[in-house]
């Protein structure tokens, strides 16, 4: 089992990350440039990080950037790695990593559906996955307001007694 320190120095040497940190017990965070993600994932997979736990995205609306997060896990070392890269929010294009981790396919579809990030090379990207007949901006973007959407689409109940008065019930119980 490699120690955390040697792993961090390995990563620093091989990936030349912009920044590394240790956010939690046995967890390493590394920020790389977007074009370095592919190489970094391939390198880490060879180092024993064989499992892609999750691929997700963060919307930094103030910086006008999306941050893609790849979390890998090594079952031999018991270490999680967060690999992060920022891409432009206005031009959210990225390449797929399904050639390295085939399991990323559905995560990419999900990120595309919820954030609108397009992964070139993932052929199923444009099929709807979770949402059906969606007619607004991707819902997990920060500028999407679910309350307003809900109010406009799904009417609320005006008062609590309405149902009781409608059915004429409520008195006998």
């Amino acid at each position: 089992m490699n120690s955390m320190n040697s792993m961090i120095s390995d990563i620093k040497a091989a990936l030349s990350p912009l920044e590394t940190s240790e956010p939690a017990f046995r967890q390493i965070a590394a920020v790389v440039k977007p074009d370095g993600i592919h190489g970094a994932l391939a390198y880490l997979k060879n180092k024993g990080f064989t499992q892609l736990c999750i691929l997700t995205c963060i919307d930094w609306i103030e910086d006008s950037q999306f941050e893609l997060v790849y979390i890998l896990f090594s079952w031999t070392d018991g270490i999680h790695i967060q690999l992060r890269a920022r891409i432009d929010r206005e031009k959210p294009f990225f390449t797929t990593v399904t050639d390295i981790f085939p399991g990323a396919r559905y995560y990419e579809r999900e990120v595309h559906e919820f954030f609108g990030v397009e992964f070139c090379g993932n052929e199923d990207l444009y099929k709807p996955l979770f949402l059906e007949l969606w007619d607004d901006i991707p819902p997990l973007r920060k500028d999407f307001d679910p309350q307003a959407y809900s109010d406009s689409k799904f009417p609320m109940r005006e008062n609590a007694n309405e149902f009781l008065s409608m059915t004429g019930g409520g008195d006998d119980e």
């Binding site: 979390i71 085939p102 559905y106 819902p139 679910p146």
Partner: protein, 369 residues
């Protein structure tokens, strides 16, 4: 060749939960299948950004309905890592107790649900009744049967009630007398063998390709890849337990593994009750003042626990304010429930599709969120 399009689900008795597998069949054989999630999509990740750090406690257990405690645990672990909270010793042990009881409940239920696809309804009836005994324990502990909201950042909500340890031991003893009956009825039944043996295979290379964890991974690779062993959380490094493994993963092996894990969990529960400190605080206040105005320092952390279906994790981002900036959920059944169904259900029969859902442990609410 005359292909027929079929919907297995969402309203099909063989489907657990609101999930759908669309397939093209030729006779009984599946030629092509495609998972259709999203029927349970509630937009949790968005809703969590709109709730306070403490307010989220009510929301998170609803992500995985059969086993809600893992949600509370990962959320608590992640927030504690971000805010640098040290959890009192006793709280760790109580958390383990809750998690293991939940694991027993889920495994018992999933053993019983094998009755759905195979038609063994008697097993279902018996197993659900056994699970109810554990839900009674939860009710005594937290006041709720399903959604407990018991594990909170900083510890657990309150101490164990008086006499709780005794009740747990009683129920465990009763469960141990009933489990051999299930073994007899389910795992040794020749017709179940005919249905489940050499069926719904999961080869080791597929495990690595999809990223399947949990029982699926352990039954195929022969490695004891359990987060409780590999990266212990709470006090799992201080209890002794085995992780059952196998090198040939068919539906029957996975059932067997689940059955053996129940015994391991019972043993962990006993050890926890033995080694737990008798007194001491069970939680620490997370903030000096109003917990509703509590802010968590900025940072990003990934927390994961071993659920009954595999690695279950939250990726939590805080920007230092009163609400989380983003929380992403890694559902444990994501790989086998989506890509697995799409790629590896081909060639099996219609009857086996729900067996896949059952033995792999596909939990639709955590896929949809």
């Amino acid at each position: 060749m005359n292909e027929v399009k079929l919907f297995l689900g969402p309203q099909h008795p063989g489907m657990h939960g609101n999930y759908s597998v669309h397939m093209y069949v030729d006779g009984d054989i599946i030629n092509k299948s495609r998972p259709t999630p999203g029927f349970l999509h509630r937009g949790f990740e968005k809703l969590m950004e709109r709730r306070l750090w403490m307010g989220n406690l009510a929301l998170i257990p609803r992500i995985c309905v059969p086993e809600p405690d893992i949600n509370e645990m990962v959320y608590a672990m992640g927030v504690e890592a971000l805010a640098g909270i040290d959890v009192p010793e006793k709280a760790h042990w109580i958390r383990m107790l809750v998690l293991e009881l939940a694991r027993i409940a889920v495994h018992t239920m999933s053993l019983g649900f094998i009755g759905g696809p195979t038609g063994m309804y008697t097993a279902t009836y018996w197993a659900i009744a056994q699970r109810d005994l554990i839900l009674d324990l939860f009710e005594e502990l937290s006041g709720a049967r399903i959604y407990h909201m018991y594990i909170i950042p900083g510890g657990v909500r309150k101490d164990l009630p008086d006499g709780f340890a005794g009740h747990v031991l009683e129920k465990m003893a009763e469960l141990e007398t009933k489990l051999p009956e299930f073994g007899e009825l389910i795992l040794k039944h020749p017709v179940i063998h005919a249905r489940a043996k050499d069926n719904i295979m999961l080869p080791a290379e597929v495990v690595w390709e999809l990223g399947v964890t949990g029982v699926g991974m352990r039954s195929a690779t022969g490695l004891a890849n359990d987060l409780r062993k590999v990266k212990p959380y709470a006090r799992y490094d201080e209890v002794e337990f085995e992780v059952p493994v196998a090198v040939y993963s068919d539906a029957l092996t996975r059932l067997n593994l689940k059955f053996r894990e129940i015994y391991q969990s019972i043993s962990i529960v006993r050890q926890v009750l033995e080694k737990m400190p008798a007194d001491g605080p069970v939680n620490v206040p997370v903030s000096p003042g109003n917990a509703l105005r509590w802010t968590v320092p900025a940072g990003m952390v990934y927390a994961a626990v071993e659920s009954s279906r595999g690695e279950y994790g939250y990726f939590i981002v805080s920007d230092g304010r009163e609400k989380p900036y983003r929380i992403a959920v890694r559902g444990a059944s994501y790989p086998q429930g989506l890509l697995g169904i799409e790629k590896y259900l081909k060639g099996y029969r219609i009857d086996d599709a729900s067996l896949w859902m059952d033995t792999m442990g596909v939990c639709s609410p955590e896929i949809d969120r």
